[in-house]
Symmetry: C2
Subunit: 355 residues, 2 copies
Amino acid sequence: MRVETTPFTLCKRYPLTISRGTSASTTNLLVRIEHDAIQGIGEMAPMTFGERQEDAVTGARELGSLAEALADIAPWEMQRMEALIAWADVGPAARCALDMALHDWLGKRVGMPVYQLLGCDPHRIEPTSVTVGINPPEVVRERVAELVARTGARRLKVKLGSPEGIEADQAIFTAAREAAPATVLIRVDANGGWSLRDAERMIAFLAERGVEYVEQPLAAGREDELPALFRARRLPIFGDESSRTAADVPRLADRVDGVNLKLMKAGGIREGLRLIHTARAHGLQVMMGCMSESSLAIAASAAISSYADHLDLDSHLNLLPDHFSGLALREGRVLPSDAPGLGVHPSETQAPPGC
Amino acid sequence: MRVETTPFTLCKRYPLTISRGTSASTTNLLVRIEHDAIQGIGEMAPMTFGERQEDAVTGARELGSLAEALADIAPWEMQRMEALIAWADVGPAARCALDMALHDWLGKRVGMPVYQLLGCDPHRIEPTSVTVGINPPEVVRERVAELVARTGARRLKVKLGSPEGIEADQAIFTAAREAAPATVLIRVDANGGWSLRDAERMIAFLAERGVEYVEQPLAAGREDELPALFRARRLPIFGDESSRTAADVPRLADRVDGVNLKLMKAGGIREGLRLIHTARAHGLQVMMGCMSESSLAIAASAAISSYADHLDLDSHLNLLPDHFSGLALREGRVLPSDAPGLGVHPSETQAPPGC
């Protein structure tokens, strides 16, 4: 196959602030493969996991260095491809983009949407949450009202772990809860921003307010403190920054209720399915999340999202413009297209100058 | 889809004796599905796991009772199908046959072999072992010579756990080792026929004689004794009767080196892949084995066999006749066909009367 990469800029409607910082735009990488006159497309979003930082520059370099080896491989040869990619130490976000393109190609080749090829039942897709970042309570209030009105969201994810401490977190949560209709369920993501003591207090506070679950209460690397939190928990606890691939699941299985699968950190659909299966074998729940991704990468997550219990696949809803189209949003659910492959295509809209 | 079942009899060239008994023939069940004028076929072999006994009669009854519900489902709707099958409590061997037929259908529908749809690299398929059962040493000697000459086998699996004790086992092993060319590697399967003390002595004996690994040394249900054996092991230990699905892997992970995946006990290709992924996440090895199966069911195992470290997919080589054709046997490797689906079709040969 031939492979080529093109960077493109995603501009956010609202800059997103989480416990670690703020982001208003990202430079992503479009990956195109071609084989037998059929194209497949995938997308890489910038990602940092542990010590490894990936962005459009590293991704283009890593995938570019494989061009010669890939010339000899057909897109369906996924096991062979994975061996090559592991050998070349391609980062997870870059391999994710390639894995998406392979699946898109395969679906187009056989004339089926990827979700059908993978056996998924779209009727089991849960509503996605939409995310409200860390902001002053009055901004949170306004943002939540706009988000719910614009997207028809049934679930809200509130980012906490504010540098200003848990009183600020409580004020943010209260503003979000008040601004959202009572039928909208709320989950919370601390992005590792709490100490053990803060986490205990916040979980008690949130449990009394009907929250669904709490994501990554403690920082990655502090998994030894999770059992203490887990034993007395009044809400389900999900790990995100603490787990990347299937191999991370066993050592978390006795201290979380579930894990957050993001294809960008896992390395694509194939490793994503491995993580889901491993989590299930341990009786864990699975949620699926995303990085800063357009409808292209979200479509890959949507294709397997019926295997997850909770979904947070909303980054494309915070873009102006979204560079790709094809996903539906119905009653708060992000649904894959019935077109072959990932079922997305470039949008007509152009990016405004200088976002 | 429509589903219909037909029993058929497999006659063995050589009756197979293992630690629990002898079998000369089995009645298997052919499962045919049809949807959009495309057929898919799968096969069920009789199986006992724990308290549950499945055979062609239970399989035909269980799948027959689903006919009405299946009428409403397309073969690619595998997640929906699995929910239905779990709800109806269909046994693993019957659901395996259905799962095989779904995959065969899907491959035929899109014009690709199942192994390609699942991304498998056929160049990574290991040689299969051929199995020699428990017999007097002179019979073992003769049988091994015939098996290796006829099949070109590169691996031999010797069944031990003889009711006559470990001296008999040692004589059987010695006869097999002497009869096999030095280039043929040998693995041993005790089918749970040893006590802990016997297992320790036999593993010491076998380790000195260059055996690859030992399968199911202790009886299922005695997993509590495995850690003692595991700690001092001089050969890799694989679990078979101790594990059925992915959910069984975590509790075995600290006491075996690998697990034996049999699609018939797992419930098909989909659960087989889940088990493989879970085992890998735990750093375990995977072997694939079989029940008494024709080339039809073996073809389903062959389609994912490149994901396993060791293969024991030989039951079709011990049939006279094999009711299905399409698999290749090259340099001791069982290779899937490049024809769409599972790539097997009914053989021309007829069964001899009254095997």
